[in-house]
Amino acid sequence: MKSELFVNGKSRVVEGHPMDRLLDILRDELGLIGTKEGCGEGECGACTVLMNGEPVLSCLIPRIQCEAATVETVEGLAAAEARAFLEGFVSDGGVQCGACTPGIIVTALALLRDNPHPDRQEVQTALAGNLCRCTGYEGIHRAFDRGAEDE
């Protein structure tokens, strides 16, 4: 099937099997390799993108569900917003190996859009679906705390 998506603000026409995963459409058809596969079953959050403004797990979304959808990936989001947050995210130790990072950044920026000053518990709730194996999550909390201090 052929479908039109709006990816990072641009119209993209893609074609393939209706059950192909949005993750593969982004990575293999559109070359947006920032979106990662960590488990392929919606547990780890590495493939998180925004679909119509909401965080979704792109490994669980079939092509058939994507028609006319607005999709924002880490590439688009990082280029467009929150430079200070991203820099702080690096310098506060939110990143080590980086494999979970795109999914965490997408979820974090979605949270910050709705709630510019989340507390520790709100951060935990928002990021509960994003696994990180390196940082112990403390560096991620520091990045949010610094964001609050900088305000």
């Binding site: 390799i33 960590g38 547990e43 130790g93 980086g98 990021l127 560096g139």
Partner: protein, 767 residues
Amino acid sequence: MTLLGSSPPRPDGASKVDGTLRYANDLPMDGAWHGATLRSPYPHARIRALQWHPERAPAGAVCVTAADLPGPNGVQLLDDEWPVLAAELVQHVGEPVAVVAAPSKLAARQALRAIEVDYEPLEPTLDLSTAGRQEPLYSLELKSGEAEEELARAHLLVEGTYRTGHQEHIYIECQVMSAGWEADGSLVVEGSMQCPYFVHRSLIHVFGLTAERVVVKATPMGGGFGGKEDFPSVIALHAALLAKACGHPVRIAYDRHEDIIGTTKRHPSVVTHRAAVDAEGHLQAMEIDVVLDGGAFRTLSPVVLSRAVLHAAGPYRCPNVHIRGKVVRTNTAPNGAFRGFGAPQVQFAMERQMDRIARRLGLDPLEIRLRNVLEEGDRLPTGQTMDESCSARLCLEKAARETDFKQRWRHLEAQRRDIADGDSMPGVGLSLYFHGAGFTGNGERVLQSVIEAALLEDGRIEVRTAAVEMGQGCDTVLPMMAAEASGLELEDVVLAPPDTSRVPDSGPSVASRTSMVVGGEVAHVVSEIRDRVLAWWSDRQESGAAHTVEDGLVRGEKGQSWPFREVARSYAEAMGPLVVSRQHEPPEWQVFDEETYQGVAYPTYAFGADVVEVEVDPDTLEVSPKKVTAVCEVGRVLHEKLCVGQVEGGTLQAVAWGLMEEVKLEEGRYLNDRLATYIIPTIKDSPEMEVHLLEKPWKGGAFGAKGVGELPMDGGAPAAVSAVENATGIEVDAIPATPERFLALTSARRQVPSEPEDPERARGADR
């Protein structure tokens, strides 16, 4: 210059937050085919027949079995006992039996169905006690003093058996490797790996190629934790075999399910302690038996066991010690390298044993440790005398002070009986631990690591090592060490990619050795290039006076200055290429006798103490870690934020290993072979962490550094479980302390005594 200890941003940070960094599976396929693996469904079976039916497979698909190997059927690690592909026998569920390649992922999966295997199931060895009756994969013994005699006349004898389970690495990036053959017959392999030269060696071994004809390139890794030390050699061999068979480059990218069932894990362990203790709680003698489950093949188990035996007595003083260790074979996936490498298992046992001894004497966990803590001048069971870099007491006292441990532990012990049903039960626990820095024994001497630096035409210095960035931050820290030592700016130093055609074998990125060993040599070779450039420059100046380099500037004696990079560029123009290389030599006095297990097993040790606070739900028995205070003494903090990050991440892995992570096997088959069922902590499960870094520089190390990567893995689990005991009064001697295991212990009434067993002893102890 005070670069070290500061926290410049990591150079790979920006490309990680904006998603532009290319990991192994993000590289263009460039016509590569996809590989897939046929795996054994049996824990133990004979392969009666194996038939590939190309007519049933997608067009062009190829299949490779053990019969097609061009050389020995063995992955070259310590030896080559680990088969590349199963030949006559399969020895664990998930063992690769055949590999296929096809133009698409789907076609590769379909091709697997064109292989028919006839298995004759055999009786598997699954139980450690059964396995223990067979010939071990490896065994070791370490003896000092007269442990048996002392135990026989012990004032107090304390015995315990402690068990730990598997742990799966769960690096977020699964294993991935690509291989392709060049027209001239050379082989190029690229993928996610910690040790490019390990992979290089295995490829040479199996394909019979000369070293120059094999090129191995390590990509930035999405996590390793030891899981990409041993296994990448297997998958690289598979990809190279398939590429040869189909005439295209081949990529094998494991999905999570395959990665869990097929790859190495942390060794499960059973450690049995017998200790003789005097009335004051001083250790008089210890007899320790360490049994590790090696899984189906030897892999790196002998060195894991070695580290286990050398850490089994913990950071404590004890004059008479007898440690026996063995690795046994079971029909489960081979166990291998995982952060800590045998030390977390034995230190879990030692720490639980210390808590048990304390209870027998009516002491608290802090007091028993303070009475036995290893200090400068004390000797380890290997006979090594601790030098001034020993900091166990420092860590212990700091952790206790920061958390008011003694008071709180005693308070919670006292109030435990008063807690009404339904209230969550708070507890606090303590652990003390150490970690030998770098390779074990004569490992560094055998490795003969070579580090190189070269002056580039533009005047920058290229550092050439095989160290791989896996998140730990070596790409940040190595240039810092070079700049600090030489007076150059960070920008004057560049790192060559870890590609065997461009960098020498500086050893594997394991054993917390990269900063301490490789970094130290980097500082030397870069400084030597600076010296040569400087000498040349001085000669060309009228006065010929000595010059110095500071902040990237060459300074003359009359106050004039020139950017080093400009001076170096003139040198390169005038003199041509300049390459300096150096082989790492461990200190002369680091001599270890592999036969007697006496001598200096590690040149120095890093130390740590953790205090973990938990809450236990009395209805569900679920344990929530609330806060961890980790005090780690690492010699010298090279990059503060990265160092803190290592401690935080390692501590969470350790606490999770103690409380929740469990590989469940039934008849050798996995019950939880996906991320939906193998549970690692989310941000919601994770405690608040407070890290205190201490420094007692080691004079032989790079700027005093002792290594930090593995240290925090040693302390989290015993401290968390000790806190559970404080909260519930139930003694946990096996991990993970999941609610299920806990329920069994609760029903068995494994309650610790609320009063000391022998009041007289307790009084003696309080003197």
